[in-house]
């Protein structure tokens, strides 16, 4: 249970709300009208393929739901998701493949 008083909770919400907005607005706001140099653009083109894998790799390898231990079922289903997404170029098929293999393999070996 949260022991913090009401005003402390509201302070967290408001401070975090403002801070989060500023983080999101940062470059869109400050650099709005400016053209970035080529080298910067070249780096930024790889933001999504750098951040998203870094976000999920630890969650996949050490899943909390499995006590932080690697689980073959999750890793296999993850590999299926990635492979189907890569080969078809279609995210929806990738989701179907990922969850399909997760539940199917879970039912067979679970």
């Amino acid at each position: 249970m949260i022991a913090a008083s009401d005003w402390q909770i509201w302070l967290v919400i408001i401070a975090l709300g403002i801070g989060t907005f500023l983080v999101r607005f940062s470059f869109l706001g400050l650099l709005g009208q400016r053209d970035l140099p080529d080298w910067a653009l070249r780096h930024l083109r790889y933001t999504a393929v750098a951040v998203l894998p870094a976000l999920i790799a630890p969650l996949l390898v050490w899943p909390e739901a499995n006590g932080g231990e690697p689980e073959p079922l999750r890793l296999t289903a993850a590999a299926m998701t990635l492979a189907v997404g890569y080969l078809t170029g279609n995210g929806i098929w990738a989701i179907v493949a990922g969850f399909g293999s997760f539940y199917a393999l879970g039912a067979i070996f679970g």
Binding site: M1, I2, V49, P53, G85, G89, G98, F102, G106
Partner: protein
Amino acid sequence: MPAASSKSAYLAGVWACLPFVMMAAPFGLLFGVVGAEAGLNLAQVMAFSTVVIAGAAQFTAVQLMTEAAPTILVVLSALAVNMRMVMYSASLQPHVGKASLWQRLLISYTMFDNTYAIASAEYDERPTRPVQQKAFFFLGTATPMVPVWIASTYLGAALGTSIPDAWAIDFAMPVLFLSLIGPALRSLAHIAAALTAVILSLAFAWMPFNLGLIAAALPAMAVGAELERRGYGR
């Protein structure tokens, strides 16, 4: 006809986001339940999902408050979780940086991992579209995302509707992101960047305040950029 193409770009954004919205709803429900169980009242839970509107940071803040962490530490730790969005903001700038202030404010407010990832994939595929269309595409992705996030939070908090463990919703986030990553691996440079990010994020997982994520992503971006410079970008 600029108006008509803005409208079709907007609708394309809505359409592209729809499948991913269904995966976001369980997290909204979960935040509602966790927030209410931690002792937040309904207004506070809803304020988290409308004012902060950032899933992972919300969970972090509530978690730390239940551990009676000092307020300043709660705010800074949850903000650290959001620091990756500085990179999202920078990476969107070349595409929508010249959009109107109102559009940029709205894009910032609705910047989630998935709205960003979907829009980024679209800009990667059609880089020459006019700014207006790019901005409307982003706002399209946000249109189903934001109401679903807020409504699912409400359902979780008001009804305590929980998701059974057997659904393994903790697996939904990796699958969601993997389904966005797979199609984005368009060249050797992209693959090398992603691989670098995976290896470094595992190596840096011990770092506090989510710093491992940034420490892994920045070198991974440099790897992608360097390979592109050497001609492996297409």
